[in-house]
Amino acid sequence: MNAIQDPIDQQLLNLIQRDFPVASRPYQVLGDALGISESQAFQRVNRLRETGVIRRLGGVFDSRKLGYVSTLCAVSVPDHLIPQAAALINPLPGVTHHYQRDHAYNLWFTLIAPSDAKLSETLEQLEKDLRVQADAGSLLNLPACQTFKIKVQFQL
Protein backbone atom coordinates (compact mmCIF):
# COMPACT_ATOMS: atom_id res chain seq x y z
CA MET A 1 0.00 0.00 0.00
CA ASN A 2 1.33 3.36 -0.92
CA ALA A 3 0.65 5.90 1.79
CA ILE A 4 1.53 8.83 -0.49
CA GLN A 5 -1.81 9.42 -2.12
CA ASP A 6 -1.43 12.10 -4.79
CA PRO A 7 0.83 14.81 -6.24
CA ILE A 8 -0.13 17.19 -3.43
CA ASP A 9 1.23 14.71 -0.87
CA GLN A 10 4.40 14.55 -2.94
CA GLN A 11 4.81 18.32 -3.12
CA LEU A 12 4.02 18.60 0.56
CA LEU A 13 6.72 16.07 1.46
CA ASN A 14 9.25 17.75 -0.79
CA LEU A 15 8.52 21.04 0.96
CA ILE A 16 8.58 19.87 4.54
CA GLN A 17 11.57 17.56 4.16
CA ARG A 18 13.59 20.64 3.39
CA ASP A 19 11.94 23.24 5.60
CA PHE A 20 8.95 23.01 7.84
CA PRO A 21 7.85 26.66 8.14
CA VAL A 22 9.17 28.50 11.19
CA ALA A 23 6.04 30.57 11.65
CA SER A 24 3.17 30.90 14.04
CA ARG A 25 0.76 29.07 11.69
CA PRO A 26 3.00 26.75 9.66
CA TYR A 27 0.13 24.83 8.05
CA GLN A 28 -1.29 28.09 6.75
CA VAL A 29 2.08 28.76 5.05
CA LEU A 30 2.11 25.22 3.59
CA GLY A 31 -1.50 25.49 2.48
CA ASP A 32 -0.80 28.80 0.73
CA ALA A 33 2.19 27.27 -1.08
CA LEU A 34 0.12 24.29 -2.28
CA GLY A 35 -3.21 25.98 -2.96
CA ILE A 36 -5.06 24.10 -0.22
CA SER A 37 -6.50 25.24 3.10
CA GLU A 38 -4.66 25.30 6.42
CA SER A 39 -6.77 22.48 7.79
CA GLN A 40 -6.23 20.36 4.68
CA ALA A 41 -2.46 20.81 4.98
CA PHE A 42 -2.67 19.92 8.67
CA GLN A 43 -4.72 16.78 7.99
CA ARG A 44 -2.37 15.62 5.24
CA VAL A 45 0.72 16.03 7.40
CA ASN A 46 -1.01 14.23 10.27
CA ARG A 47 -1.95 11.34 7.98
CA LEU A 48 1.63 11.05 6.70
CA ARG A 49 2.84 11.00 10.30
CA GLU A 50 0.30 8.41 11.36
CA THR A 51 0.97 6.09 8.40
CA GLY A 52 4.69 6.25 9.13
CA VAL A 53 5.81 7.89 5.87
CA ILE A 54 7.12 10.64 8.15
CA ARG A 55 9.25 9.00 10.83
CA ARG A 56 9.63 12.23 12.77
CA LEU A 57 8.82 15.89 12.29
CA GLY A 58 11.42 17.91 14.12
CA GLY A 59 14.95 19.23 14.23
CA VAL A 60 18.10 17.62 12.86
CA PHE A 61 21.12 19.15 14.56
CA ASP A 62 24.76 19.37 13.54
CA SER A 63 26.43 17.22 16.19
CA ARG A 64 29.81 18.94 15.80
CA LYS A 65 28.36 22.41 16.28
CA LEU A 66 26.72 21.20 19.48
CA GLY A 67 30.15 20.07 20.69
CA TYR A 68 29.62 16.37 20.06
CA VAL A 69 31.92 13.98 18.18
CA SER A 70 30.89 11.07 15.98
CA THR A 71 32.32 8.07 14.20
CA LEU A 72 31.45 5.08 12.05
CA CYS A 73 32.48 1.68 13.40
CA ALA A 74 32.62 -1.79 11.93
CA VAL A 75 33.16 -5.14 13.53
CA SER A 76 33.25 -8.74 12.42
CA VAL A 77 31.02 -11.10 14.40
CA PRO A 78 30.02 -14.73 13.68
CA ASP A 79 26.51 -14.72 12.21
CA HIS A 80 24.96 -16.75 15.03
CA LEU A 81 26.28 -14.25 17.60
CA ILE A 82 24.79 -11.15 15.93
CA PRO A 83 21.91 -11.00 18.45
CA GLN A 84 24.44 -10.97 21.34
CA ALA A 85 26.46 -8.24 19.60
CA ALA A 86 23.34 -6.16 18.87
CA ALA A 87 22.34 -6.48 22.54
CA LEU A 88 25.64 -4.80 23.46
CA ILE A 89 25.69 -2.17 20.71
CA ASN A 90 22.05 -1.04 20.41
CA PRO A 91 21.41 0.06 24.03
CA LEU A 92 24.18 2.69 23.77
CA PRO A 93 22.31 6.02 23.47
CA GLY A 94 24.88 7.41 21.01
CA VAL A 95 24.36 4.58 18.52
CA THR A 96 21.89 6.01 16.00
CA HIS A 97 22.28 3.69 12.99
CA HIS A 98 23.22 0.03 13.03
CA TYR A 99 23.13 -2.33 10.04
CA GLN A 100 24.14 -5.86 9.27
CA ARG A 101 25.96 -5.76 5.92
CA ASP A 102 27.05 -8.29 3.36
CA HIS A 103 30.81 -8.13 4.13
CA ALA A 104 33.49 -9.73 6.32
CA TYR A 105 32.93 -6.70 8.56
CA ASN A 106 29.28 -7.55 8.99
CA LEU A 107 28.13 -5.03 11.62
CA TRP A 108 28.29 -1.28 10.95
CA PHE A 109 27.11 1.38 13.37
CA THR A 110 27.45 5.10 14.00
CA LEU A 111 28.30 6.43 17.44
CA ILE A 112 27.89 10.00 18.72
CA ALA A 113 29.37 11.12 22.06
CA PRO A 114 29.69 14.41 24.01
CA SER A 115 33.54 14.36 23.89
CA ASP A 116 36.53 12.52 22.38
CA ALA A 117 37.32 11.07 25.80
CA LYS A 118 33.80 9.70 26.21
CA LEU A 119 33.85 8.29 22.67
CA SER A 120 37.15 6.44 23.24
CA GLU A 121 36.02 5.16 26.60
CA THR A 122 32.75 3.83 25.16
CA LEU A 123 34.51 2.13 22.24
CA GLU A 124 37.17 0.55 24.44
CA GLN A 125 34.58 -0.98 26.72
CA LEU A 126 32.41 -2.07 23.81
CA GLU A 127 35.32 -3.72 22.02
CA LYS A 128 36.12 -5.76 25.14
CA ASP A 129 32.50 -6.76 25.68
CA LEU A 130 32.07 -7.72 22.02
CA ARG A 131 35.22 -9.87 22.11
CA VAL A 132 34.11 -11.72 25.23
CA GLN A 133 30.40 -12.07 24.55
CA ALA A 134 30.17 -12.17 20.75
CA ASP A 135 33.55 -13.56 19.67
CA ALA A 136 34.16 -10.32 17.73
CA GLY A 137 37.39 -9.25 16.07
CA SER A 138 38.88 -5.83 16.67
CA LEU A 139 36.76 -2.76 16.08
CA LEU A 140 37.31 -0.52 13.05
CA ASN A 141 36.94 3.09 14.19
CA LEU A 142 36.54 5.38 11.16
CA PRO A 143 35.71 8.98 12.11
CA ALA A 144 35.09 11.19 9.07
CA CYS A 145 38.06 13.40 8.16
CA GLN A 146 36.23 15.27 5.39
CA THR A 147 32.50 15.62 4.77
CA PHE A 148 31.55 16.08 1.13
CA LYS A 149 27.81 15.60 1.55
CA ILE A 150 25.10 14.92 4.09
CA LYS A 151 21.74 14.99 2.41
CA VAL A 152 18.75 13.82 4.30
CA GLN A 153 16.01 14.70 1.88
CA PHE A 154 14.76 12.91 -1.19
CA GLN A 155 13.16 14.48 -4.22
CA LEU A 156 9.84 12.67 -4.68
Binding site: Q17, Y27, G59, N90, A144, C145, F148
Partner: protein, 163 residues
Protein backbone atom coordinates in the same frame (compact mmCIF):
# COMPACT_ATOMS: atom_id res chain seq x y z
CA UNK B 1 28.07 29.95 19.93
CA UNK B 2 27.97 29.14 23.65
CA UNK B 3 24.78 27.37 24.56
CA UNK B 4 22.82 28.45 27.60
CA UNK B 5 20.75 26.01 29.59
CA UNK B 6 17.65 27.49 27.94
CA UNK B 7 19.22 26.83 24.51
CA UNK B 8 19.79 23.22 25.52
CA UNK B 9 16.20 22.88 26.71
CA UNK B 10 14.98 24.21 23.36
CA UNK B 11 17.26 21.83 21.45
CA UNK B 12 15.99 18.92 23.54
CA UNK B 13 12.43 19.89 22.72
CA UNK B 14 13.07 20.37 18.98
CA UNK B 15 14.65 16.95 18.60
CA UNK B 16 11.37 15.37 19.67
CA UNK B 17 8.32 15.22 17.43
CA UNK B 18 6.73 18.67 16.95
CA UNK B 19 3.37 18.82 18.73
CA UNK B 20 0.49 17.85 16.44
CA UNK B 21 -1.31 21.16 16.72
CA UNK B 22 -2.10 23.94 14.26
CA UNK B 23 0.31 26.20 16.14
CA UNK B 24 3.06 23.78 17.22
CA UNK B 25 5.57 26.47 18.20
CA UNK B 26 3.10 28.08 20.57
CA UNK B 27 2.38 24.67 22.10
CA UNK B 28 6.10 24.03 22.51
CA UNK B 29 6.76 27.53 23.84
CA UNK B 30 4.15 26.99 26.56
CA UNK B 31 5.87 23.76 27.63
CA UNK B 32 9.15 25.69 27.84
CA UNK B 33 7.59 28.70 29.63
CA UNK B 34 8.61 30.99 26.77
CA UNK B 35 6.73 33.30 24.48
CA UNK B 36 6.08 31.92 21.01
CA UNK B 37 8.02 34.83 19.49
CA UNK B 38 11.07 34.11 21.69
CA UNK B 39 11.02 30.46 20.60
CA UNK B 40 10.67 31.33 16.89
CA UNK B 41 13.61 33.72 17.21
CA UNK B 42 15.75 31.01 18.80
CA UNK B 43 14.85 28.53 16.06
CA UNK B 44 15.83 31.05 13.39
CA UNK B 45 19.09 31.78 15.21
CA UNK B 46 19.93 28.07 15.42
CA UNK B 47 19.26 27.77 11.68
CA UNK B 48 21.38 30.81 10.90
CA UNK B 49 24.31 29.49 12.96
CA UNK B 50 24.04 26.06 11.36
CA UNK B 51 23.35 24.28 14.66
CA UNK B 52 19.99 23.25 13.31
CA UNK B 53 20.81 21.62 9.98
CA UNK B 54 17.20 21.12 9.15
CA UNK B 55 13.78 21.42 10.72
CA UNK B 56 11.37 19.19 8.89
CA UNK B 57 10.12 15.73 8.10
CA UNK B 58 12.41 12.75 8.41
CA UNK B 59 10.87 10.29 5.94
CA UNK B 60 11.23 6.56 5.65
CA UNK B 61 13.02 6.00 2.35
CA UNK B 62 11.36 2.66 1.82
CA UNK B 63 7.97 4.26 1.80
CA UNK B 64 8.87 6.89 -0.79
CA UNK B 65 10.18 4.61 -3.53
CA UNK B 66 13.89 4.53 -2.69
CA UNK B 67 13.63 0.87 -1.84
CA UNK B 68 17.29 0.08 -2.44
CA UNK B 69 20.45 1.50 -1.04
CA UNK B 70 24.00 0.36 -0.88
CA UNK B 71 27.08 1.62 0.90
CA UNK B 72 30.04 1.73 -1.48
CA UNK B 73 33.58 2.21 -0.21
CA UNK B 74 36.28 3.38 -2.61
CA UNK B 75 40.05 3.18 -2.50
CA UNK B 76 41.06 6.58 -3.83
CA UNK B 77 44.67 7.77 -4.22
CA UNK B 78 45.27 10.43 -1.57
CA UNK B 79 45.92 13.24 -4.09
CA UNK B 80 42.59 12.59 -5.86
CA UNK B 81 40.38 12.31 -2.81
CA UNK B 82 39.03 15.86 -2.65
CA UNK B 83 38.23 16.05 -6.37
CA UNK B 84 36.66 12.59 -6.34
CA UNK B 85 34.67 13.35 -3.20
CA UNK B 86 33.22 16.53 -4.69
CA UNK B 87 32.48 14.78 -7.98
CA UNK B 88 30.51 12.04 -6.25
CA UNK B 89 28.78 14.42 -3.86
CA UNK B 90 27.31 16.31 -6.82
CA UNK B 91 25.22 13.30 -7.84
CA UNK B 92 21.65 13.24 -6.50
CA UNK B 93 21.73 9.43 -6.08
CA UNK B 94 24.34 9.90 -3.34
CA UNK B 95 23.02 11.01 0.04
CA UNK B 96 26.20 10.84 2.11
CA UNK B 97 29.84 11.12 1.07
CA UNK B 98 32.76 11.19 3.52
CA UNK B 99 36.50 10.74 3.58
CA UNK B 100 37.50 8.37 6.38
CA UNK B 101 40.92 7.12 7.52
CA UNK B 102 42.47 3.90 6.24
CA UNK B 103 43.64 1.17 8.62
CA UNK B 104 46.16 -1.67 8.22
CA UNK B 105 43.33 -4.05 7.26
CA UNK B 106 41.07 -1.41 5.71
CA UNK B 107 42.29 0.35 2.53
CA UNK B 108 39.07 2.20 1.60
CA UNK B 109 39.02 5.94 2.27
CA UNK B 110 35.92 7.30 0.53
CA UNK B 111 32.45 6.29 1.72
CA UNK B 112 29.27 6.84 -0.27
CA UNK B 113 25.64 5.98 0.43
CA UNK B 114 23.80 5.31 -2.82
CA UNK B 115 20.03 5.19 -3.25
CA UNK B 116 17.93 3.86 -6.10
CA UNK B 117 14.55 2.49 -7.02
CA UNK B 118 15.95 -1.00 -7.76
CA UNK B 119 19.04 -3.06 -7.09
CA UNK B 120 19.94 -2.92 -10.80
CA UNK B 121 19.68 0.88 -10.80
CA UNK B 122 22.10 1.05 -7.85
CA UNK B 123 24.57 -1.33 -9.50
CA UNK B 124 24.45 0.52 -12.83
CA UNK B 125 25.08 3.76 -11.04
CA UNK B 126 28.10 2.37 -9.17
CA UNK B 127 29.65 1.17 -12.44
CA UNK B 128 28.99 4.53 -14.02
CA UNK B 129 30.73 6.29 -11.11
CA UNK B 130 33.71 3.94 -11.33
CA UNK B 131 34.06 4.65 -15.04
CA UNK B 132 33.71 8.41 -14.60
CA UNK B 133 36.18 8.72 -11.74
CA UNK B 134 38.57 5.97 -12.79
CA UNK B 135 38.46 4.49 -9.27
CA UNK B 136 38.47 0.75 -9.90
CA UNK B 137 39.07 -0.53 -6.36
CA UNK B 138 35.77 -0.46 -4.50
CA UNK B 139 33.42 -2.68 -2.55
CA UNK B 140 29.65 -2.76 -2.21
CA UNK B 141 28.26 -3.34 1.26
CA UNK B 142 24.59 -4.16 0.95
CA UNK B 143 22.51 -3.79 4.06
CA UNK B 144 21.00 -7.14 5.06
CA UNK B 145 19.15 -5.95 8.14
CA UNK B 146 18.46 -2.74 9.98
CA UNK B 147 19.36 -3.39 13.62
CA UNK B 148 18.77 0.14 14.90
CA UNK B 149 17.75 3.49 13.50
CA UNK B 150 16.96 6.49 15.69
CA UNK B 151 17.60 10.19 15.82
CA UNK B 152 20.23 11.38 18.27
CA UNK B 153 18.98 12.95 21.49
CA UNK B 154 21.44 15.65 22.49
CA UNK B 155 21.76 16.97 26.04
CA UNK B 156 19.83 14.06 27.54
CA UNK B 157 21.29 12.27 30.53
CA UNK B 158 18.98 9.30 30.20
CA UNK B 159 19.31 6.82 27.30
CA UNK B 160 17.83 7.89 23.97
CA UNK B 161 14.31 6.86 23.23
CA UNK B 162 14.07 4.80 20.06
CA UNK B 163 11.58 5.78 17.43
Amino acid sequence: MTLTSLDKEIIKALQQDLPQTLNPYETLAQQLHLSEEALLEKVRLFQEKGLLRRLGAVVRHHQVGYTHNVMVVWQVPEHLITATGHHMAARPEISHCYQRPTRPNWPFNLFTMIHGTSEAACLDFVQELAAETGIQHYQLLTSLRELKKTSMRYFCESPAATE
